[in-house]
């Protein structure tokens, strides 16, 4: 399933709420938690991370991974946390609204 425009940022922030993570880990986490429903082209991840970092929602530093590989680790900043809450609320309201419009089930006839 393709990602909706703008949702990748939200998913990244959401993933980072569990603690610091590197880019590859973020990609994998999103894929796993969505039970492989959401396929992310890994290449798209990095410009998004860059964008979030520039806005000050995440911070980055180089560190070592579990099996001792160099990687750039991202953490959520307080501003990012606020942004996550704001955007999650918005998303939930939006999806609820769309859900109401679509109704309880549309069958193919």
């Amino acid at each position: 399933m393709e990602l909706l425009q703008g949702t990748l940022d939200l998913l990244i922030l959401r993933t980072l709420i569990f603690g610091r993570q590197h880019g590859q880990g973020i990609g994998r986490a999103i894929q796993q938690t969505s039970e492989d429903e959401l396929l992310i082209e890994h290449g798209a991840l990095y410009p998004a991370l860059q964008r979030l970092e520039e806005r000050g929602w995440i911070a980055a530093e180089w560190g070592s991974s579990a099996n001792n590989r160099k990687a750039r680790f991202y953490t959520l900043t307080p501003a990012g946390r606020k942004q996550l809450v704001r955007e999650t609320t918005k998303w939930q309201r939006l999806s609820a609204a769309i859900g109401r419009v679509l109704g309880p089930g549309v069958r193919e006839s």
Binding site: H22, Q24, H42, E54, G56, S65, A71, K82, R86
Partner: protein, 891 residues
């Protein structure tokens, strides 16, 4: 879902963060792929399978990198840096082009900046005091017109009743003061000021103190003085004992209480610099022509400091109301009274009209020079654009966008003109020095206070001008250069100039020639005028000296004053080397008095029908001294004195006006209500502009004048010497001082200097036009040469073929020269027509020459065509050197 444009704090934060290196980003991607391989291997893939899989999952690495790069906020900066580096390299590679370009711009921009500094001085510059932006001038208007000074009582009324100003001060800034200190007298300029003057100006004394309010309350009670830093250095050798020193100002004892700050020269630019300030309560020392404390004696200029919360408009509105109240209270004196409040900028308002005209003329002239410089640059860039076609084509073929290319070319012209502008500042300082030189001495002597010079405004103007010129000439040439024929130029052929760009270059050259000729004609007219001024009509200024003797300043009464003058003249005439001497009330250049004259029984009914003529009161041998011919009758002599019949001498124009056949001798003429018998007719004074007819003029006898009302006017004594004038000045001064050392001698100068000062604007206009004309000629000649040289190089093959087919070298040379002359003639024709239409703007600066004087037109055209021919000859000669064999093998 625009919410991701996040909190402001985050944005600001990143502004200061160091930008992330590209390499860092690449490393991160590498790390990602390694991690992904690891994960895949954990899931059981082999290394060889895992790597491509990881890559596939990642997608396009280059795309990600590029996206990172493009999102980079400093991209434009990188481009700019690239453009600048590239531009500098290109300019360095073509030192000839760069040199000519920078020089052209430096001259154009520098000349313009110099003229602008003049405009800035006249209209914009503020006083060098703290917070000068809140200072305003306050003047009176009559029936909504003019700028008039105010009387002291009116000033007090405004001062005490307004709510707009934190303080309102008054000054009389041009008071001639005879300073006597250490037994040496000297004429200086003084300012009579209210005690709050220095507070309004926000000044602190360099040393000592300024006036106390109580020192400015009772008339004639507190003779205290503040002196200028310059006077302190000059007259008191920067002595430490100067405070409390006693000096004589116009014969009155004063005590020095303070020294003004070093850069403060008075609060009225345009009048002589102030060397001494005295409180308004001592007005009787500084002003004598009316009682400064009376309501009908309007001599004060007001300076106000607006309260921080008051806008200029509100101050004006309040002052209007106050003026209306004054008008109601004193209808006889203050009828039609109004007030005008203007920001305190530039020079005294009535200094502006005359100088403003000059400024406009110079601006117009320098504008032409700048246009010539710009079109020259545009021409140069066009030529270079042709030479660079190949380079541009390669860049276009490699995928550079046209916008980027134009930006690159504009960056180059910008660099060129910024360098030119910087160098232009050097040119500007020369120009400014030249300009300031015309304003050193005022008519009454003393340095005029005008701070013509570079200031931040002028610097900003020069910067802006550089940018504007860069865009101007860059835009003309850049689109042409960025649109080459790719196929042709990539093949390595320099395509011959496209007809469009050739036409543009020819048009630019002709325009330059046209503008130059307009300027050159102006130069011719002005140079002739200046020569006419110094030549006079039988009036040789080189052997004449004038001295202003002012016994009245030190309290002489009329009779004592006359005795002094007569004795001084007797001793002067007895000096070896002196031919003759004569007193006069006004200097010989006719801006003296004026009076209404009529024939007996024909008294005019009112001021409208009055015939007003110029007037001067002169002594015996005045005309002999001056060297102006008496055409009929005689001049005044020793027998004309008080008690003998009143006599007058009229000039030709006046004689013609009343007695059309030139038969004026013996006739009676009423001047100012008193009958005079005409005993002589003098030649017209020749100092009138080409627009004004010679003024009618009457000379009355200095020793016969009416002294019943007191009014001992001091004289300007005119002395003719046999040798050269300036070495005689000290001797003459000493001779007069021997009669009474206390009597101030002012305006002691040769007639040449008088003419220099009186005709300052004409000389200045002439000097600058000459500079600008030379500049214009030089620039347009460079332009012409450039175009011809380029044409020759373009047509090398053609010339080669022609010569191979039997054409002589001279035929080819003739072709080139014809082209040059054709371009110059076209420009000259346009220029002559333009000058014919615009020369009349110079009319008020022309003396003894009409604006459409054919000599000026022919001379200008001649000079220009001669130069054009010479300049065309150089490339033409080069064309004859073309070797047909080489030329044919050339491409």
């Amino acid at each position: 879902m625009g919410g991701f444009w996040g909190p402001e704090s985050g944005k600001v934060n990143t502004m200061f963060r160091r930008k992330r290196k590209h390499g860092d980003f690449t490393a991160e991607i590498e790390a990602h792929i390694e991690l992904e391989i690891e994960r895949l291997k954990e899931q059981g893939m082999s290394e060889e399978e895992a790597r491509p899989a990881a890559r596939r999952a990642f997608g396009n690495v280059t795309l990600a990198e590029e996206r990172f790069y493009e999102s980079h906020r400093w991209l434009w900066w990188d481009h700019l840096m690239q453009d600048i580096r590239y531009g500098l390299r290109m300019l360095a590679k073509n030192p000839g082009f760069t040199g000519v370009g920078v020089l052209t711009l430096a001259l154009g921009i520098g000349a313009t900046a110099a003229v602008f500094s003049f405009v800035d001085t006249l209209y914009l510059r503020r006083l060098p005091v703290r917070d000068a932006g809140r200072l305003v001038d306050v003047f009176q208007t009559r029936n909504g017109k003019g700028y008039y000074e105010l009387s002291y009582p009116d000033y007090v009324f405004y001062r005490d009743n307004n709510n707009s100003f934190s303080d309102l001060a008054a000054q009389y800034p041009a008071s001639p003061i005879s300073l006597m200190a250490s037994n040496q007298s000297e004429s200086i300029n003084g300012s009579v000021v209210t005690a709050n003057y220095f507070r309004v100006l926000n000044l602190r004394p360099f040393w000592g103190r300024f006036f106390l309010p109580e020192e400015d309350e009772v008339p004639d009670k507190n003779p205290v003085a503040v002196i200028s830093y310059g006077l302190w250095k000059r007259r008191f050798a920067s002595g430490l004992n100067v405070l409390g020193r006693i000096i004589q100002l116009n014969g009155n004892t004063f005590t020095i209480v303070g020294i003004a700050p070093e850069n403060f020269r008075g609060a009225m630019p345009g009048v002589p610099e102030t060397d001494v300030w005295i409180p308004a309560a001592m007005f009787h020392v500084g002003y004598r022509y009316c009682d400064a404390f009376q309501r009908d004696c309007t001599i004060l200029s007001l300076i106000g400091r607006l309260k921080p919360e008051t806008a200029l408009r509100d101050a004006q509105a309040e002052m209007n109301v106050l003026a209306h109240r004054l008008e109601g209270a004193y209808p006889a004196i203050d009828e039609g009274l109004g007030v005008i409040v203007t920001p305190k900028r530039g020079v005294r308002l009535w200094e502006r009209s005359e100088n403003g005209l000059v400024a406009n003329l110079l601006l117009a002239a320098v504008g032409l020079v700048l246009l010539i410089a710009c079109s020259n640059l545009a021409g140069l860039l066009l030529v270079r654009g042709m030479a660079r076609q190949r380079e541009v084509s390669i860049r276009l073929a490699l995928g550079a966008s046209r916008g980027r290319l134009v930006r690159q070319l504009l960056t180059e012209s910008l660099i060129l003109s910024l360098v030119g502008g910087a160098l232009g500042l050097v040119v500007a300082t020369w120009g400014i020095d030249l300009l300031a030189g015309f304003y050193t001495i005022g008519e009454e002597g003393g340095r005029i206070y005008v701070s013509i010079g570079l200031d931040p405004v002028v610097l900003a103007f020069t910067m802006a001008l550089s940018v504007v010129t860069a865009i101007a000439f860059g835009l003309v040439s850049a689109p042409q250069a960025s649109r080459p024929d790719l196929v042709v130029s990539l093949k390595g052929e320099v395509s011959s100039a496209s007809p469009r760009s050739s036409r543009l270059r020819y048009a630019l050259v002709s325009a330059q020639v046209a503008m130059s000729i307009v300027l050159l004609i102006g130069v011719g007219l002005l140079v002739m005028s200046v020569r006419n001024i110094y030549r006079g009509t039988g009036f040789d200024p080189t052997h004449l000296v004038s001295l202003r003797l002012r016994p009245s300043l030190v309290g002489y009464d009329v009779l004592k004053g006359w005795d002094f003058q007569q004795e001084a003249i007797r001793r002067l005439e007895a000096l070896p080397g002196v031919v003759s001497a004569s007193p006069a009330t006004a200097p010989p250049i006719p801006w003296g008095g004026a009076d209404s004259v009529w024939l007996p029984g024909q008294e005019p009914s009112g001021p409208e029908s009055a015939f007003v003529v110029g007037k001067n009161l002169v002594g015996p041998r005045y005309f002999e001294t001056l060297g102006v011919a008496i055409l009929r009758g005689r001049e005044f002599n020793e027998h004309d004195k008080k008690g003998t019949p009143n006599v007058a001498i009229v000039n030709e124009t006046l004689a013609e006006h009343f007695w059309s056949h030139g038969n004026a001798l013996g006739k009676v003429l009423i001047a100012g209500g008193i009958p005079f018998q005409v005993v002589g007719v003098a030649r017209d004074a020749q100092y009138h502009t080409s627009v004004a007819p010679p003024p009618a003029f009457i000379y009355l006898d200095y020793w016969q004048r009416d002294t019943t009302n007191g009014g001992s006017e001091d004289s300007r004594t005119l002395v003719r010497v046999s040798g050269s004038a300036s070495p005689m000045l000290p001797v003459l001064r000493k001779t007069v001082a021997a009669v009474d050392p206390n009597v101030p001698i002012q305006e002691d100068r040769t007639l040449t200097e008088w003419l220099d000062i009186s005709f300052r604007t004409v000389r200045m206009t002439s000097t600058f036009f000459t500079c600008f004309g030379a500049l214009a000629l030089f620039l347009s000649v460079v332009g012409l040469y450039g175009v011809l040289a380029f044409t020759v190089s373009q047509r090398t093959r053609e010339f080669g073929i022609r010569m191979a087919l039997g054409a002589e070298g001279s035929d080819v040379a003739r072709m080139v020269m014809h082209q040059g002359i054709r371009l110059a003639m076209l420009g000259a024709a346009i220029g002559l027509v333009g000058a014919f239409g615009s020369a009349r703007f110079l009319a008020s600066y022309l003396y003894g020459v009409r604006p459409n004087n054919p000599v000026a037109f022919i001379a200008a055209a001649g000079v220009l065509m001669a130069t054009a021919i010479i300049v065309s000859y150089i490339p033409a000669r080069r064309a004859t050197k073309v070797d047909p064999m080489v030329a044919l093998r050339y491409e």
